[in-house]
């Protein structure tokens, strides 16, 4: 499931998971657990901590942006030249947790050439959506 908001290019994945937030939080923040489902890493749940995610295809450079235990975790995600922000949100439900991941393509950490036109991109993407809608 993906969607693009009017402001950014973003990917949103949301799932109901039959485990409590505390347990999911561990899987999202403990390096040996992160490695099992995501990539090798030197993650620490500390704001501004810089870490790398490593896979055989390359390295993702990250920086922790927000940590609110069992609720929210956000980090920048820089692979090649494209920077984005990954935000995890955990909401307790009767059956476990609603886990939401949003990766937004144009965050505050963009290279100069993205930033210079920040306001304009919003209009561009909405115009683009209209154009693409007509192609269908």
């Amino acid at each position: 499931m993906s969607e693009s908001s009017s402001e950014t290019l973003s990917v949103v994945i949301e799932r109901e998971i039959p485990h409590p937030p505390q347990k999911i939080w561990r899987a999202l923040t403990e390096p040996h657990l992160i490695e099992e489902w995501l990539m090798k890493n030197d993650f620490k749940p500390i704001v501004d901590h810089r870490f790398n995610l490593r896979a055989d295809w390359g390295v993702v450079e990250c920086r922790v942006v927000a940590v609110e235990p069992n609720k929210t975790l956000a980090y920048t995600w820089g692979a090649y030249d494209l920077k984005s922000v990954v935000t995890w949100t955990l909401t307790p439900t009767s059956a476990g947790t609603r886990l939401r991941m949003e990766q937004s393509g144009f965050g505050p950490d963009q290279p100069q050439y993205y930033q210079g036109a920040k306001g304009g991109w919003q209009r561009f993407f909405s115009a683009l959506e209209q154009v693409l809608a007509r192609l269908d």
Partner: protein, 113 residues
């Protein structure tokens, strides 16, 4: 990996080209209104014809517009297919994260059993 290097370069070039608001406005106009001569684009762009030509050349290098010569006039039109790398980014990342969610759920099943 979901994003290969070549795709990343193509996308980067695309973003660079479209980062200039004036150039992007020209491209949007060609998307919206179809094929235009340099003169017609200039009349709306609020900049000189040489400046418009420079922007159109940059768009052409990025594959975002194509030109067609008719006598002494050059007509430009938008190539929407060139936007594919930009649109692909979301679907590639969505696929990547769906897969990682599956792995995360597998891990959660194994934890603290």
């Amino acid at each position: 990996m979901v994003i290969d290097r070549k795709m990343s370069h193509a996308r980067d070039a695309l973003f660079r080209t479209l980062a200039d608001p004036t150039r992007r406005a020209i491209f949007e106009r060609l998307c919206r209104e179809g094929e235009q001569t340099v003169g017609a684009v200039t009349a709306q762009a609020g900049i000189s014809q040489p400046a418009v030509s420079k922007h159109l050349a940059a768009l052409k290098r990025a594959g975002l517009v194509r030109d067609r010569h008719e006598g002494r006039r050059t007509h430009y039109s938008a190539r929407l297919g060139a936007l594919a790398p930009l649109i692909d980014w979301t679907s590639q990342m969505a696929g990547f994260w769906q897969n990682r969610f599956d792995r995360l759920e597998d891990l959660l099943k194994r934890m603290d059993q």
